[in-house]
């Protein structure tokens, strides 16, 4: 008898992705180059253990701003996203949403910084616009996947609007609500990260403190941030929402005025290719510089990082989910697991990469590990929660056998679904690691803004957006080929 060689599409796809990631890893710079990392690392540890809440200027105010930007941004994007979700049958709307969500909020902020300066509008719009695109897509999917039976029970001739308001909406509403809570958590993270480029949120102080090695201050800022996210379910009550929104509008520092002429100048001059403004410059040279010297190496590095980080995320997820799974661990150990996962997923990947960069020196390794830790903790949490629904046979094996032969095969498909869903997110996140000096497209965008060359920045951002849309499309193809479904709660 000859051995029959058959492999499932699932195994084949896994193999292909592993292969691609392996090739990417071979060509990536993964060296550890530091000579003396321990001195700095021991200072970091000492600082983390001795948080100092009094060294930051106006700490409470920046916490207030962080909340204000997140609340207003997420509230507005919910309204706009809901409206767009209703129009999602239109191809134009779908493409529009894909485009606005393919640009990272940091890039939106850098653009709005040119238009409105350090006005609160910059922060609110930077969150609202990409989030509206994401929310529109998710809400449209929720509406589409809702149970159709109640609709069929309606009498003939029911007005479409009544059918929508009284039948479809109530069913979907619970999903909208739980998704909005998740978005608010993301919004808080985004809002904090916007501080890295100058908005007055927690990130403003966090970045400075980190850069200068004031680790006790870093520790205090992070603890405060974790606390706000961990207690969200207690303070985020629906009746209180209008109150929060009004306070948010009023505490933001609206003082800075902006002029229409700045906006007009940015849109009609600054972003025009330089050779169009200065006839002595050569268009070919301009294009060559952006495409050959920046975009191509940027795209290669971005894809390398994304593919290796994607597989690393998958591997870490398989290690992380048992930490909170009742099928594999007792309640005490799970408690610790929960705390670990909350901290890992709430820490912006920028911070993780920053710490690892200090430890290992400048290569792609810190970025890969930071992305994998952050995303692995998010998916690990969702997969761990998923195992709560699995019921085991009475004669199920115990210990390692249960993990490898019972649980792992059963969570593998949902895990892959979530992982492919996050592929696009990982790609977006490589942008912000570019600002740390890892030569992804984000690095070149950041350089263009640093040189005040907005024409180049816009071309590079557009290229980043196209790359994002492509990956999103491939991810959707792979998921439908493998018939992977993400359930509504697990997005």
């Amino acid at each position: 008898m000859t051995a029959k060689k058959s492999s499932s599409p699932l195994a084949r796809t896994t193999g292909i992705f592993f292969g691609v990631a392996f090739v990417c890893a071979c060509f990536s710079d993964l060296a550890i180059t530091t000579v003396d990392p321990w001195a700095e690392f021991s200072r970091l540890l000492a600082g983390i253990l001795t948080p100092d809440f009094f060294s930051t200027d106006s700490l409470m105010l920046s916490l207030g701003y962080t909340l204000a930007f997140a609340l207003l941004g997420v509230a507005l994007s919910n309204i706009i996203g809901f409206g767009l979700a209703l129009l999602f049958f239109s191809r134009t709307v779908r493409v529009f949403c894909a485009v606005i969500r393919s640009v990272h909020e940091l890039f939106w902020a850098l653009i709005f910084l040119q238009l409105f300066g350090l006005s609160p509008l910059t922060g609110i719009l930077a969150i609202t616009i990409p989030y509206a695109g994401i929310i529109a897509k998710v809400y449209a999917e929720i509406l589409e996947e809702a149970d159709p039976t109640p609709l069929q029970a309606l009498p003939y001739g029911t007005a479409r609007i009544s059918a929508f308001v009284f039948v479809r909406l109530p069913d979907a509403f619970a999903h909208f609500r739980s998704y909005s809570m998740y978005r608010l958590e993301c919004g808080l993270r985004s809002s904090a990260v916007l501080g890295f480029i100058g908005l007055p949120t927690l990130g403003f102080h966090l970045e400075s403190a980190f850069k200068e090695g004031h680790y006790s201050e870093v520790s205090a800022l992070l603890i405060l941030f974790y606390f706000v996210i961990a207690t969200m379910r207690f303070w985020m009550r629906r009746p209180l929402l209008p109150v929060y929104l009004i306070i948010a509008v009023i505490i933001l520092p609206w003082g800075a005025e902006f002029s229409a002429s700045n906006i007009v100048r940015f849109l009609t001059e600054d972003i025009l290719p330089h050779p169009l403004r200065d006839p002595s410059a050569s268009m070919v040279e301009w294009f060559h510089l952006i495409i050959i010297e920046q975009a191509v190496p940027g795209i290669i590095a971005t894809l390398q990082l994304t593919m290796v980080a994607l597989i690393a995320t998958g591997l870490l997820t398989m290690i992380f989910f048992p930490l909170i799974s009742p099928l594999l661990l007792g309640p005490k150990a799970r408690g610790i697991g929960h705390v670990f996962l909350v901290i890992t997923r709430s820490t912006p990947e920028y911070i993780l990469a920053f710490v690892l960069l200090q430890l290992w020196g400048p290569s792609m390794l810190p970025a890969i590990v930071a992305l994998a830790l952050h995303n692995g903790a998010i998916i690990g949490h969702l997969v761990g929660r998923y195992t709560e629904q699995i019921s085991l046979r009475p004669d199920t094996p115990a210990g390692a056998n249960r993990y490898f032969f019972e649980i792992s095969p059963r969570v593998y498909r949902p895990m892959l679904a979530l992982l492919f869903y996050r592929w696009e997110v990982i790609l977006r996140e490589t942008a912000i690691l570019g600002m740390l000096g890892i030569a992804t497209l984000g690095f070149y965008v950041d350089s263009a803004f640093a040189d005040l060359r907005f024409d180049r920045a816009m071309v590079l951002i557009a290229i980043t957006a196209v790359l994002n849309i492509c990956v999103d499309a491939i991810s959707r193809k792979v998921r439908s080929y493998l018939r992977l479904q993400t359930s509504l709660e697990h997005r």
Partner: protein
């Protein structure tokens, strides 16, 4: 009931927040605002320049405010968009700002700023030591600049590297990084994350004095020739907005700053007058390196 409680809470919130809001508005009227590039010790910027704002308020007899920014580019943008009217720039950021805002002028500089220097520093494990001539031995090492928009941390070191090797830094070194600011360049080279770096000589000297630099781990291997660097630049339209002769008044206030505590925040011994032409070498170098079109 729920609606009612929500309504009451809203009213309370409005009145509380209204108090904060009105204080905010009072601030917005008729103030003169300045910023400074975040070249070192960012978290102390507010403390350092808050004092300068108080001094200027007193000298000019009006409300003067300092706005912190995160990057050199943000300082230039704020100046260009008239969100600040005065700024403490580096050589390169000052040149960029004056190109973008017609009529703006450099009015003051530190006493030693016409002869600013960049130090090339190396981790002791490289075995490199101080030399009078450009240290060609740095080729093939890992190298970090400061901020992408810095004169002493980017422009001048890149110029000398290109002069010495005839190649771009990315072709000379194994790895090139941008640390973000001068104090961080020193700490990255000291930890060995990068083998060689270029930093502002004032930041180096201060680090030696306050003990944050360990001379056993990191040392100076080369000093660039002097070049003009930091400067106070003011917008050309301030005389229109704040009254005739305002620009001169600001210049006088800056030049007569004598309190050592204030000057320490820059850190400078004293300020002397400056003019746009003083920075011509910087403009030419930036054009040569294609950092300015």
């Amino acid at each position: 009931m729920r609606l009612l409680s929500s309504f009451i809470a809203t009213v309370i919130a409005l009145s509380v927040a209204g108090g904060i809001g009105s204080a905010d508005q009072a601030r917005a009227a008729g103030k003169f605002v300045f910023t400074a590039i975040p070249d070192q010790d960012e978290s102390k910027l507010r403390k350092r320049f808050g004092k300068v704002a108080n001094y200027l308020s007193k000298e000019l007899g009006m409300k003067v405010e300092y706005v912190p920014v995160k990057s050199y580019a943000a300082a230039v943008t704020a100046f260009r968009n008239n969100q600040v009217q005065l700024a403490w720039f580096g050589g390169l950021s000052g040149v960029r700002a004056r190109l973008l805002v017609k009529g703006s002028t450099a009015i003051a500089q530190g006493k030693k700023d016409p002869f600013f220097e960049t130090y090339f520093i190396a981790h002791s494990s490289t075995g490199l030591s101080y030399s009078k001539n450009f240290p060609k031995g740095i080729a093939g090492k890992t190298f970090t600049f400061g901020s992408k928009g810095s004169t002493s941390g980017r422009l001048m070191p890149e110029y000398h590297i290109r002069q010495a090797f005839g190649k771009a830094p990315s072709q000379v070194f194994k790895r090139v990084g941008f640390s973000g600011n001068h104090s961080r360049t020193v700490s990255l080279v000291q930890s060995g994350a990068f083998q060689v770096g270029a930093t502002n000589f004032k930041v180096w000297k201060r680090g030696l004095k306050d003990g944050s630099i360990d001379p056993k781990k990191v040392k100076v291997i080369w000093k660039t020739p002097g070049y003009p660097d930091y400067n106070w630049t003011i917008r050309g339209d301030v005389d229109q907005s704040f009254g005739n002769g305002f620009s001169k008044k600001v210049q006088k206030a800056l030049l007569s700053m004598s309190d050592p505590d204030l000057l320490k925040s820059f850190p400078r011994e004293a300020f002397i007058s400056a003019k746009n032409d003083d920075y011509k070498p910087i403009l030419d170098t930036a054009k040569l390196l294609k950092l300015i079109d």
